[in-house]
């Protein structure tokens, strides 16, 4: 059963996921120990010519970028986004905050002293909404997974 879990975890974490708007690379599998803080980086590549809203897009109607993780033996401490690019728009009096190109979202977890030893994974979801200058795609949520080996 554990081998099966490990295999399925490897299969998901090894694959980048693509949509017309972006490609995400899940965090690298991590070897962790109790009491440690571990970092999981989700790589995002936005299709050239497009952008996604930042985690704080500066317009109340725009849908922010969100990375959420399900509760797991590892405790989530923070989810950090890079600085956003501020762009002027024709529809808002103030610039909107977006991400484009390639960037990373960094999540930090602590490993409790009683966390179970062995392989595990934390399922997460990345919700995003993106546009170019003339067109927007509906918001979308894609699954991500952080796999680890607790030694």
């Amino acid at each position: 059963m554990r081998a099966l879990l490990l295999l399925s975890s490897l299969a998901v974490s090894a694959c980048a996921q693509s949509t017309p708007l972006l490609t995400i690379t899940p965090p690298a599998r991590a070897a962790v120990k109790r009491g440690q803080t571990v970092t999981a980086k989700v790589g995002v590549r936005v299709t050239p010519g497009f952008h996604v809203n930042s985690n704080a897009p500066l317009d109340e109607y725009l849908i922010p970028l969100r990375l959420t993780w399900q509760p797991a033996p590892l405790e989530l401490k923070s989810v950090e986004f890079p600085p956003a690019k501020h762009e002027k728009s024709d529809f808002s009096p103030k610039p909107i905050a977006v991400f484009d190109g390639v960037f990373e979202i960094t999540s930090k977890f602590t490993v409790p002293s009683n966390a179970p030893i062995g392989a595990g994974f934390i399922p997460g979801k990345l919700r995003y909404q993106g546009c170019n200058a003339t067109t927007c795609f509906p918001p979308k949520t894609i699954d991500v997974r952080f796999s680890y080996d607790l030694q």
Binding site: C15, P20, G49, D90, T134, T135, C136, F137, P138
Partner: protein, 193 residues
């Protein structure tokens, strides 16, 4: 596994070509910028629908028999859609008496909770109905916003714009269709759901 991933990436790249090609041709609709509306013989009936407006009243496409209809799919999270809204307010004000109807189809998942405050704050003077996936599917999927269908007085799709186009392009379409007489005096038939 590697081949599967490669196939997936190839499919994704192919999908990417659609919006990118749209961008290359000027980020305009399915017809070229400046091209006229479709000849009457090539126009297809617009699908009939029945949706509720912000006051809870049922709106059917067939309510607008004999009118030129600007059917605009939009959402509050869509920036380019918001650029168009003041244009549509202007069209509704100036061209309503000549036979134009502007109808917004909001595609927000959160529904009226977000749409109503928005259209109130922007003083939207045309009717807005709440759309859904089945409505979008009726009109070919509507995979990106804004998507706008310009219908002639006989309820046929004369032009489709995917993405933001200029105000003058819309106005040219509308003026041309307002000038055209109805094909017949017979009742307008809309494609059934």
């Amino acid at each position: 596994m590697a081949r599967y991933t490669e196939n997936m990436l190839a499919r994704s790249r192919a999908l990417l070509l659609i919006p990118l090609l749209a961008a290359l041709v000027g980020c305009v609709g399915t017809t070229k910028a400046g091209s006229p509306v479709k000849p009457e013989s090539q126009r297809k009936k617009a699908p009939e629908f029945s949706l509720k407006d912000s006051n809870g009243q049922v709106v059917k496409l067939s309510d607008f028999k004999g009118k030129v209809v600007l059917l605009n799919f939009w959402a509050t999270w869509c920036g380019p859609c918001k650029v168009e809204i003041p244009w549509f307010i202007d069209f509704e004000t100036r061209l309503k008496d000549q036979g134009l109807v502007v109808l917004g189809v909001a595609m927000d998942d959160e529904g009226w909770e977000v749409v109503k405050p928005y259209i109130t704050s922007k003083k939207v003077n045309y009717r807005v109905v709440m759309g859904d996936d089945s409505m979008a599917n009726l009109y070919g999927g509507v995979e990106s916003l804004p998507t706008t269908f310009v219908l002639d007085r006989d309820g046929r799709i004369a032009r489709t714009h995917v993405g933001l186009v200029s105000k003058s392009e819309y106005e040219n379409d509308i003026q041309e269709l307002l000038r055209q007489k109805r094909a017949s005096a017979a009742p307008v038939e809309f494609a059934g759901r």
